[in-house]
Symmetry: C2
């Protein structure tokens, strides 16, 4: 079968959906087609069915926060359209209680929060002073900090600094012996706001409702893309089911992991400037484990619990073939009992690579076996076994294979954004065939890795096409 | 009397002293003269005599912290020279307990620390988005924040944000209805480290010991400065006592306030680019009140106490002719009982204009009368009357007249630094007579307002002279 469209959008995640709805304000939706490999729209925005919860909760198992909430146009749009109301969101950012294998840590008394701030500022200054300084892992730069500024720190502060900064593993989804020290420091544009109602229930429902079913094709991965005039159209793609679509514009929104694994056969092949850029950054594996309990057996005034790893001398990034020892990886757990103001227990725990791959491939029993001795530490009454366990499956999802882009040591985040989006308007960059466009969290600087970044990249590429078509917008 | 010198340095504060010692490594000290108006060296580095304390403590009543401690070359020098040891300094930055007229505030539970961080980030973003946005006071921009981002804040958070940010008054020494919102956000380069041993005991003793007495003239304000060759020298100054010194280079380190009040008669007059720049910023009035008590009647595990002002609708910057109501100005009190690990009570309280002027001109009895009802709030046992009160006198010191440079709304900090230091190497700027140089906290961007900024400006100007003389350094 063969179709002809003005615009084809590969991928029905938020960047593709936003590209569609932005175009649709000016172009007949019949002329636009979204082709999604999976059996649903939303991509890495995905929520569980409340029926899968013993507590009737729907959990976002992909993205779940509005980051940069002072400067997040997605949040602004959703609030302005009343898609999101004040009670649908929650700032889960009360100072976290912090524990390690010895129990609760007196963060304030030991001033470990101040030391951590200083370590982060040190990293920022270190590379700001000389951008050409060699990158090193977050683990290594933490040790440089102690060497250079440890004189005025006490023993506990020196010991804890490198263990505390491992919280970043739960930002990037990769372990600290891989995280690029140079690019580890984020300039947050405001607090992180939990989308308590879930992204499926508000953002996805709202945006998908605008798109005609006839403009969506599910369950059909795109397998090849050919540049060159055919039937008067500039480009042609083919799907696994054999569908051929000729189009004037092609928007490629597949995850970075799917660009990297050559799932799409490019003809002619992608030029080396692009293929090199694609390999200048990595893809992380942030996952989640959700435990539900009959009762709340922790301090329910806390939003979050952090459990620090022990000091680990060996590498922690190696693939796990057996269950790791407890306290090998940091834990960041959100107290959903408080988020939802219920009197049953719910903890949402973030996981990082290589732990995510292990947990996503083992049994629920093993998942609990791994966490129980660590969660024991936060118990203020008898710890209970869970009545329900939900584990994400991102690393086994063949259409996603992880979470989002992540910078390993020696990676360069700018190259891919320049090549795929040409945000900086450098001449002679990207594809010569300008009608093939890229969007998604990996193609944008502001909001990189975030839902609002993906959303903005969709607006950017839709506007590119409208401008190219001389359509006023 | 008339002297001839290669270099004259007006002002014996840290910038002048550092200029001297830097030059002295290459120039015979006989050729350099420091002329100081006051009867002592050190300027705004000044410590009390332990005999003036009932607890035997020496207090820094001027500068007392090493700011930007990750990037402070003064601190680095003092540590490297072992002038300062690990036990001579103290990070007094444990999360402060915060109170208002109603008692202790649950900062963590109400997440007011997060809201304050967001307010500060908002200000940064607001002016970063558009540098040409009109400046407004810190008070006004706090209200803009609530208007733009109050939707997701609760009532207490909205109420407290504008009161909490008044802590900045104790940074700048001016009230928040005068503080420039645009320039209020500081990029701290590391923690603030209290110089527990005092700047007099370490920095001043060390640096003054290097300077021959014969190169120092005290008690003799410079009253005029004449450019133009005389006796083969390029410049000539005259002091109040009638001393005339002809010199090749003149380093002017007097406080900004003394440049602004025309204490030095310039001949020819300073050009308008400089006089305009001098009036593009203001001078603050940070002061201190020190109370000593027989016992410690507060929670002695705290480093600092913050007491918030009530919500004040009227202006707070007007000169005080009578004692203000309690809770009109924020209080920032450092618990010196903990700093010095003693079992007697010592609180060091910072004050801002216009309160500083009032307190520095009233009786100790009145000072205590003003503070007692507010300090009552932090008492965990019976509040005591002090056994000793020390109040600074900076605003009445005719050679200083306040604390350090401060940015009022609509001020421009860059102009004065460009004109007085030419840090940016703009052509045709500053004085045509390049042998007249300026240094001090008001002439430098990095470390502006700080001891290490003044110290670095001294190095900068010494190096200028050495370079001008073709001396390798």
């Amino acid at each position: 079968m063969s179709l002809t469209k003005q615009v084809v959008i590969i991928g029905g995640g938020i960047s593709g959906l936003k590209t569609f709805t932005t175009l649709q304000e000016h172009i007949n939706p019949d002329k636009i087609l979204i082709i999604e490999a999976d059996n649903r729209l939303g991509g890495r925005l995905k929520s569980t069915n409340p029926k899968d919860s013993k507590l009737g909760i729907s959990y976002d198992i992909g993205a779940s926060w509005f980051h940069d909430s002072l400067n997040n146009i997605l949040l602004d749009d959703l609030l302005a359209e009343r898609v999101v109301g004040v009670d649908d969101v929650y700032y889960d950012d009360r100072d976290a209680s912090v524990y390690d294998s010895t129990g609760e840590i007196d963060i304030v008394g030991l001033k470990l929060n101040r030391v951590l701030e200083d370590l982060e500022k040190f990293i920022e200054i270190y590379y700001h002073e000389d951008i050409n300084r060699a990158d090193m892992s977050l683990k290594d730069i933490s040790e440089v900090f102690i060497k250079m500024h440890g004189l005025l720190l006490n023993g506990k502060q020196k010991e804890y600094a490198g263990r505390m900064i491992r919280y970043m593993e739960l930002w990037y989804g990769i372990p600290y012996d891989l995280i690029s020290g140079k690019y580890s420091i984020m300039d947050h544009q405001g607090r992180n706001l939990l989308n308590k109602e879930t992204y499926s229930e508000n953002l996805l429902k709202w945006i998908i409702s605008k798109i005609p079913n006839s403009s969506i094709r599910l369950n059909d991965p795109v397998t090849s893309s050919k540049r060159g005039i055919k039937d008067g159209k500039r480009c042609s793609i083919k799907t696994k089911s054999g569908l051929v679509v000729n189009c004037d514009y092609l928007i490629v929104t597949v995850p970075l992991s799917k660009l990297q694994d050559d799932s799409i056969n490019w003809s002619p092949p992608l030029p080396s400037n692009i293929s090199t850029a694609l390999n200048s950054i990595h893809f992380g594996a942030l996952g989640k484990v959700i435990f539900e309990f009959q009762n709340i057996w922790w301090d329910n005034k806390q939003d979050r619990f952090q459990i620090l790893p022990n000091k680990i001398e060996s590498q922690v990034h190696e693939k796990l073939t057996i269950m790791p020892q407890p306290f090998t990886y940091p834990i960041f757990a959100v107290n959903f009992s408080k988020v939802h103001n219920i009197n049953k227990g719910s903890l949402v725990i973030l996981t990082q690579s290589p732990l995510t791959e292990y947990l996503e491939s083992t049994t629920p029993e093993n998942v609990w076996k791994y966490y129980k001795p660590m969660l024991q530490i936060i118990a203020i009454s008898q710890i209970e076994d869970p009545i329900n366990i939900i584990t994400t499956n991102w690393t086994n999802n063949e259409f996603i294979k992880g979470s989002y882009s992540a910078l390993h040591t020696h990676d360069d985040p700018s190259e891919i954004i320049i090549q795929l989006s040409n945000e900086n308007e450098v001449p002679n960059i990207g594809l010569d065939d300008k009608y093939i466009r890229f969007c998604g969290e990996h193609t944008i600087s502001d909001g990189a890795g975030c839902v609002h970044g993906a959303y903005m990249s969709g607006i950017r590429e839709a506007n590119y096409i409208l401008k190219d078509l001389n359509i006023q917008f």
